[in-house]
Each structure stands twice: as structure tokens, then as C-alpha cells.
């Protein structure tokens, strides 16, 4: 399974999201590759992804995708990530 974390530059907030998503997924016992990418490369990066994690600002720019777009409000809240990932993957 592939999960993409998207932000403007692909280095700051998306990297935080990647690190915390990996922690939550391992707690849930779910194996997945989580990659950080910038919004400009979302179409290629997310072509074979099941889930896109991002913030509300990027939903429109992500546009059409087969992946489930999951909006995270607090990037440091493991509970929010856990609930939303479980919902999306479950």
C-alpha cells in the first residue's frame, strides 16, 4: 500500500506528516510506504497511491485522483491521524 503526504514544498509539513503517519500505521499494524511530495508532483506521485494525506488548502489543487484524500488539521495529533487513517483504510 502507498500513502502520499502532500505539501507546498514537499519538505516541511509533508515530512512531519510522513513521520507521524508511519508511527500511527505501525501502531495499527498496517504495512504501507509513506512518501512526502510537493503539490506540483502530486499527479505522478499519487498515481498508484491509496491515500493522500494533506491539509485543506491543497484539496482543490490535488484535483481528480483515485486516491482517498484525507485532510489532517493537527499534524502532531496521533489520535486524529489514527482515526482518519483507520476510517480511510478500514
Amino acid at each position: 500500500m502507498k500513502i502520499i503526504a502532500i505539501c507546498g514544498a514537499g519538505i516541511g509539513s509533508s515530512a512531519i506528516l510522513k513521520v507521524n503517519a508511519e508511527r500511527v500505521l505501525s501502531r495499527l499494524g498496517i504495512e504501507a510506504d509513506v512518501m512526502a511530495a510537493d503539490i506540483a508532483s502530486v499527479q505522478t506521485a499519487a498515481a498508484d497511491a491509496q491515500v493522500i494525506l494533506t491539509s485543506a488548502e491543497f484539496v482543490e489543487a490535488i484535483g481528480k485522483t483515485f486516491a482517498d484524500v484525507v485532510v489532517i488539521n493537527n499534524y502532531f495529533d496521533a489520535n486524529e491521524l489514527m482515526i482518519k487513517l483507520e476510517e480511510s483504510l478500514g
Binding site: 507546498g8 514544498a9 507521524n20 488548502e57 491543497f58 493537527n74 499534524y75
Partner: protein, 148 residues
């Protein structure tokens, strides 16, 4: 794995700013003082927010300002600015912001370790209010878990 050095040059306590742009520029100035970036990096960080919106406000009260690796970055660095009066970035959930982190990375590959350490600090939900209330550079360093 460790955070970039945080010293008196890269920490600003109780900055008085008019709006989010000024807050981000404070973080840019601190990155420049500490030798991490050229002055132009501050405007790159502002431009990212102008272009993509206030997504850098990644948790209640906290903005992680950053731009791409580029010629404005001399070496990877982190700056912390706490605000005297919180400012709004226009985020639907996480305004107002009282702590601005400025992040500059020299290359996209090398920064993940630092980011993991940032996550370690801020996964404790007491960290943001503690930083917002910190009165000294040493207090900020203690919260961030870096040597003073």
C-alpha cells in the same frame, strides 16, 4: 539524528509583529543571523504561503514556515520565534499562531532526521503552549531538547 543547532541567534522571544508576514520575516531574519540562509529566504517562505495558503499552520498555535532548498540556503537550520501577541494566518482550525518555526533545508534528502526530531518534540501537546510562554532562550532550548 538531531535538530539543527538552536542558539541565541536563532531564537526570538516575544516578537512584536503586525501580521503573519512580519512573523514569518522574523523567523527568516533569525535564520539569516544564525548563518543558515541569505536574507532572501524570508521572502521565499512568505511566497510559499501566498501561493499555497496557510497550510504551514500545522497544529493549533504553530506555524512551520519553510521554502524549498535553493540558492538562498547556506546550511540546514531551524529558528523559533514566539509572538508577544498571536497573529492569524487565515487557517480554518489552527489560528491564532503564537509560535513560528522557520525551517531551511540544504537538500531534500538530509532533513528527514531533523523532522523526525521535531515530531518527537511536538507530539507532546504541551510543547506549543510551553514555547509560547517561555521567557528565556534556555527555556526554549530545554523544551526543544537541544543543548544550551
Amino acid at each position: 539524528m538531531s535538530l539543527p543547532e538552536l542558539n541565541a541567534d536563532s531564537i526570538v522571544i516575544g516578537a512584536v509583529v503586525e501580521d503573519w508576514r512580519a512573523a514569518v520575516r522574523e523567523a527568516g531574519a533569525a535564520l539569516t543571523r544564525s548563518g543558515s540562509t541569505l536574507p532572501a529566504y524570508a521572502e521565499e517562505m512568505v511566497r510559499m504561503i501566498d501561493e499555497h495558503g496557510p497550510y504551514v499552520v500545522i497544529a493549533p498555535g504553530l506555524a512551520l514556515a519553510h521554502a524549498r532548498p535553493g540558492p538562498e540556503v547556506i546550511k540546514t537550520g531551524l529558528a523559533i520565534v514566539t509572538l508577544d501577541t498571536p497573529v492569524n494566518f487565515g487557517h480554518p482550525h489552527n489560528d491564532p499562531v503564537s509560535v513560528v518555526l522557520g525551517l531551511a533545508v540544504a537538500s531534500a534528502e538530509e532533513h528527514l532526521a531533523s523532522v523526525a526530531d521535531l515530531a518527537n518534540v511536538f507530539n507532546d501537546d504541551r510543547a506549543i503552549p510551553a514555547l509560547a510562554n517561555a521567557k528565556t532562550v534556555e527555556e526554549v532550548q530545554r523544551i526543544m531538547g537541544v543543548p544550551s
